[in-house]
Symmetry: C2
Subunit: 356 residues, 2 copies
DNA sequence: CTGTTAGCGCTTTCAG
DNA sequence: CTGAAAGCGCTAACAG
């Protein structure tokens, strides 16, 4: 930097106190084998001299950065910000810092983010994949170097890396079954890239629920887009073209569900009478849209915590042989008006059916 | 790291090619005075050997990190994620990386974030302040070292640092004037900590608009909270206690406005007939709530870009004397049904009145 | 165009 | 409990 005065180093402190740099280094790290008093004095002097530790030198020497990288598709969802808060809490408690970046749902950006993480020598990497990521070659350099990677939510099936997620198959099954119980027979499923297991699993659950209820799967009822708000409006227009109209919609996220509902309503569809609706994620939006949206709730904060704890435990165990330990977290189905049509063909009408 | 094989260094490459490390270093940095062919060879060999540059060593040597720190109150708003995308684009184009952290609206966390940034030796810092930050002592070490700081949106009045924001006074004035034109006379203002100039300015604009329209300012109509969704519900309950009821509400953000509207509606208040509503930020929520919410729109992406460009220009100019250059960005009032009551006491009824 | 050299500031044996 | 010394990997004069 251009700043006038020189940065003070441990040598400056050592000189001033007529001791060695080694002792200063130890004192600053609160090493046990340093005299209590000198330690106190060193810390005081360091503060007075405006000392700041030089992490470059320290990292260079230690060959570790105490930084964990995080790559997520987007930052701007409630879910993701909860995840991050959870991760940060656990990492900070363990003396690690977080280096966050977003792939904006493209593999290209994800690759360049991964490279930045590699060059900046993160000690570990936490990842939720972009829609269009087809392979994880860009993470190979980490795996090769034994830098732990944890996948969460949008995971990749990779034996070497722990994965934290929810049972999307089961959730898809439950939510579809619920719609069927409410009388829907012709159910549209809006989802995203089937490259991501999250979405493939939800679709599979949807299919199985149809099958178990004697409803034939119809490819034309599956809409694949990017689950954005705009995509929801388009999906609605698509749905309006269908003949006959569907009587239920299960969207793989809430944002898309909500904008889809808006457009349908504007076009005279009455919800849930004409069409039952369900989303996924329990975004705050679900309680603003009318009728309020039935959805799947799973705690981002907890997912963040769990993923970070996995990271810490991998970091601790130098033991390279420890197998990757994947975790499946809980979720709950939250039933709201958007799916309550009253005309059940089953006696089973629980208002809230938490996961068994 | 525990990883078995050693990391390859420029020396390994140099040895293999029987040249000096200096040349390798130059080639890898695309230094002009290196033979085209050797350069090509070096780059190829580096790739083959799985070389990754060691930023610790490089940064230590260069005394700069090419990392810009970013501290924001929260990540989970559309606005903030737009800002970040804008910042990232500009920084990446200029060879910088972004180190993001959130203060979660507390000064304590903001301080610890700032310290992490200091120790990790960011080359510059971009900040939007937490609600309860009363001073910026924690940024002094940066200023002292001539590490540029840019404040945006939630700025701090500090001569040494550029500030990027919108004219909140004017926006507050316009939105309040609009409500008055729509027939509101008893207008509640919901806002947050007056420590933040954004909110103080909006309040001041609100007061001035009242005054200019011959309406007396009433302290009891100002509600101060944290503008969260929960706070909105509470504000609604507070409003319901008022006697007489207000006939207009201007909330300093949309999230709070929306949840407030929800609770009021549940309690039989009809909007906008009984109460005209306006928010701030043009969050996607504004188009989901019914009636759609009148609000102020300003572009986060642009704010991010502008702020980052300021940063780059400060970084470029070693010239320490260049004065801080603050920028005031544009905004627009977006009028929607929530404030359209039809019973104007002024002939002026534009549906959309962009900033002059 | 290329090589030599001297550190950047810290941690960590190893010796006291 | 403390000190001496080596070296992490890279860059930037400087000298050819």
């Amino acid at each position: 930097m251009m700043g006038g005065e020189k940065e003070t180093t441990i040598y400056d402190i050592a000189d001033k106190l007529n001791i060695s740099a080694a002792t200063v280094s130890r004192a600053l790290k609160d090493h046990p084998r340093v005299n209590k008093n000198t330690k106190k004095l060193i810390i005081k002097t360091a503060a007075e001299m405006g000392y700041r530790s030089n992490s470059f030198a320290s990292n260079l020497r230690k060959k570790s950065s105490n930084i964990i990288g995080l790559i997520v598709p987007r930052l701007n969802s409630n879910f993701m910000s909860d995840v991050i808060a959870g991760i940060e809490k656990v990492l900070n408690n363990n003396g690690y810092n977080l280096f966050i970046s977003q792939s904006l749902e493209t593999m290209t950006k994800e690759i360049s983010n991964a490279n930045a993480m590699l060059v900046n020598r993160v000690d570990g990497l936490m990842v939720s994949l972009a829609y269009d990521t087809t392979n994880i070659d860009h993470f190979e350099p980490f795996i090769k170097r034994n830098i732990p990677i944890i996948f969460f939510d949008r995971v990749f099936e990779q034996d070497a890396c722990p994965q934290i997620y929810i049972d999307n198959y089961k959730a898809g099954y439950e939510i579809t079954s619920h719609l069927i119980k409410q009388g829907s027979k012709r159910i549209v499923h809006i989802t995203a890239s089937q490259l991501r297991k999250v979405y493939a699993d939800r679709l599979a659950g949807y299919r199985k629920a149809l099958e178990d209820n004697g409803i034939e799967f119809n490819d034309d009822l599956v809409i694949i887009n990017n689950l954005s708000s705009e995509a929801g409006h388009e999906a609605a227009n698509h749905i309006l073209q269908m003949d006959p109209l569907p009587d239920g919609v299960f969207s793989a996220n809430d944002i898309c569900a909500v904008s889809c509902m808006q457009t349908l309503k504007k076009n005279g569809i009455s919800l849930p009478a004409d069409m039952a609706f369900a989303g996924f994620n329990n975004d705050p939006l679900t309680c603003v849209i009318e009728p309020n949206l039935t959805t799947i709730n799973y705690k981002g904060y907890e997912m963040g915590e769990v993923a970070a704890k996995q990271m810490i435990s991998r970091l601790m165990s130098k033991d390279e042989l420890e197998p990757a330990h994947s975790l499946i977290l809980k979720y709950e189905l939250i039933v709201r008006e958007s799916s309550l049509r009253g005309n059940h063909n089953s006696p089973n009408n629980t208002l809230n059916e938490p996961q068994s």
